[in-house]
Symmetry: C2
């Protein structure tokens, strides 16, 4: 029986134009990754559940898509959970596999599993879809691509320098000028917490500080007070709220604020190193900015924290982020593997390029030449030319049916094909082709060689 | 707690070399698809279960991976099935989504859902993974890529001609010369069944005939007898068993054998048209062969049937196949949409290219130049050169740590990086770089411009 077809909420079909634009972004990023020495890996769409579960917190566990075991899966169901109809408890006994939730945990698993084949430091990139059972909303999907580059096995700060250059290179190549690469350091945040006597409230403190942009100074202070940070401590924060100016002058202020914290000093040193190197090397179109309120997934990062924002005139959340983490692979039993990585927010980058009209006109690999089909003999004559055009990389095709000329021309118009070729008895006799430019209406009767150069 | 990490059976990790080789195949096929006027679409990894279920037969339904509903899924479980612990019956009530099993049904769903946006005839290609809960074995995986090109909305035989050219173009571009494109036509098989009085046993008949290569004439006859085809009918088949020679001479024999079948005559006409066109147009490296035993998914195909075999010296099943089907979208309520399509067997093509050593040497986008890291000042000087190399598309990197020279050189060796660059005080002073060719051991102290041209 006929069904009205649809797709699951939070998923998307991509039409040819959308695929072409997405691949343009992928290929630009891929190209930059490779010139920077990153190499691609790919991992399976689903992992054993125990590889993923427990790695993203309780909320994450809930959002992981689980795959039902095949066959008579109930025969192995946990009977206690079954009898009590407890979904959560039943799941592990009827589902052994789950869809990838991000690329980081599968990468950690990959590194540990293949550690003997890998030459460290290992620079890998990975561009693959991930799945999350999140409530779908504007710009948030249940299936979306992630795009990550990481280095594991080196603590060198040159990596941080290179990642800033990499962001700059990718966004410049995408012609998306004026992005801001914000940087902070976990050690700065720890240092501040230490100085104001709130080391034990680091998370509460950073969560509140992170809101400075949105809710303003007073509300941030209120929230901190509410979380039990002392008035005295908050008073010590005052210089932070007014921190501004160049990277260097902010560094200078931080030196004063954090003079009592060894960890804070270390953070300042790292930031200063990175900033000096970037100043020496220069950026193409991006700007580097120190932002001491930047926290992101703080528990995860141990050093640098990155976030990229779109040019100021575009309303959009961050289009990239990352940082350094000191123990990526510990969850799988391999200790002391330091890593640092960044990711690109593909869907948001797509929207920004769309809004600013930055996709190249040639992005859609459309057919360039359509040969009108007037009959068998003419079609065969046309296909010989089409063979030659294709071998020269010109996308071309024959209208498959001997339909009315008007219908065929309409087809070319609707598909925005720039050239059509007409072949009749005259053309076959004189071994020529009548080429029509659909934009100008101009027509030329030319031999094949000239046709090719006109189309090119 | 530490786990020993692994991946689900039937799935694979791909290391950088494998990813590079796979993408080389994808990109070659993608390029050919586009010059032939095919446009890419992408569909979600999972579909609503009712889009997929019932489309692949009972066996197929069993092999579809089902995704468990999120949250307290048992609260909506079918209570009858729950009480009787009937897995099959329970599934639809606790799982609404399922992983894509092939690209054909999602394509049909796409065409129906987007019919008002599509300009027909619609030539689409799609390269995406599919999932099957098959028993994993050598060369059979639970996650693998399919690679399909189809045209819907035209009954023209020029499409069949173009698909043969497309196969030829792709395999020639992959340097895989000597493949055989076998062709048959459903109408020929129906005609033969008709002539021998076994029209009602078409499937049994073709299943037996399909085995001619493997089990030989006598066993095929035995099987047909066993299935109730008369001795008299089988006797009429005799000329088929000895059918050989050129496409044209086989066509001539078929004309005699099928003289009494109108449908058979129609099939012959179609094959002859295709063969004449291909003879006129020529193929680059492939051969076209008529194979009346070729059946594939017979119930599915209504006209041409294709199958591609690897060059004779390679032991490998078919590396591609396809055909014409007359009612792709009927399952979703859109009638009379004729289609024809082909697919490429990616994993087998990979194995064949590997066996014949046909991957280009440059397929692996390895780092070409590694700069040895002697310290901060040297590293910064190196990064300025690296910036320039990268902007010229040369994959290059700085060793991140100031490790012992021997360790850094070993790293270059293990990764098979062809050039290293050494920068010390002397080089910085004279604004030069010492370039070492790792294969020959040759060293040159050169300015940046010369370094670039030497590496290129």
């Amino acid at each position: 029986m006929a069904q009205k077809p649809s797709i699951p909420k939070g998923t998307r079909d991509f039409n040819p134009e959308q695929v072409a634009k997405r691949h343009y972004i992928f290929n630009t990023i891929r190209g930059a990754f490779e010139t920077f020495g990153f190499q691609p890996i790919e991992t399976p769409s689903f992992e054993n559940s125990d590889t993923l579960m427990g790695k993203y917190g309780e909320e994450g566990d809930r959002l992981i898509f689980k795959i039902l075991n095949s066959g008579d899966y109930l025969s192995k169901a946990n009977s206690e959970a079954y009898d009590s109809k407890n979904s959560n408890k039943l799941t592990p006994s009827i589902s052994e596999k789950a869809l990838r939730y991000d690329l980081t945990v599968p990468f950690a698993r990959y590194v540990v599993q293949h550690q003997n084949e890998i030459e460290f430091p290992f620079k890998r990139y990975q561009i693959q879809p991930v799945w999350r059972a999140d409530r779908p909303q504007k710009g948030r999907f249940r299936e979306f691509f992630q795009c990550d580059a990481d280095v594991v096995g080196s603590q060198s700060l040159w990596q941080e320098v290179e990642f800033i250059q990499l962001y700059d290179t990718v966004f410049s190549a995408l012609k998306l000028e004026g992005v801001t690469i914000k940087i902070n350091n976990r050690k700065i945040l720890s240092g501040i917490a230490e100085v104001i006597g709130a080391s034990d409230k680091l998370i509460d403190f950073t969560v509140a500080l992170d809101k400075l942009d949105k809710i303003g100074e007073e509300k941030v202070k209120e929230e901190m007070l509410g979380k039990g940070i002392s008035e005295e401590g908050i008073a010590k924060l005052q210089p932070l709220f007014t921190l501004s100016g160049s990277f260097e002058s902010q560094i200078d202020s931080l030196k004063t604020i954090l003079s009592a914290s060894e960890e804070g000093q270390k953070g300042i040193e790292e930031l200063a190193f990175i900033n000096t190197a970037i100043s020496e090397l220069g950026l193409k179109t991006a700007a580097l900015q120190l932002d001491v309120t930047l926290a992101r997934g703080l528990n995860y990062y141990t050093g640098a924290i990155f976030e990229v924002s779109a040019p100021k005139d575009v309303k959009m959340g961050s289009i990239g982020g990352g940082g350094r983490y000191d123990d990526l692979t510990g969850i799988f039993g391999m200790k002391n593997v330091s890593g640092v990585g960044i990711s690109f927010g593909l869907d948001r980058i797509f929207l920004v390029l769309e809004e600013l009209d930055l996709f190249p006109e040639t992005v859609n690999k459309n057919v360039e030449v359509l040969f009108i089909n007037f009959g068998e003999k003419e079609a065969l004559f046309s296909l010989k030319a089409i063979n030659e055009l294709r071998s020269q990389g010109i996308n071309s095709e024959l209208y498959p049916d001997t339909a009315k000329m008007k219908k065929q021309m309409n087809h070319a118009n609707k598909r925005a094909i720039p050239f059509v070729v007409l072949v009749g008895d005259q053309e076959i006799e004189s071994n020529t082709y009548t080429l029509k430019n659909m934009a100008t209406g101009e027509q030329h009767k030319v031999p094949l060689k000239e046709l090719i150069s006109l189309v090119k």
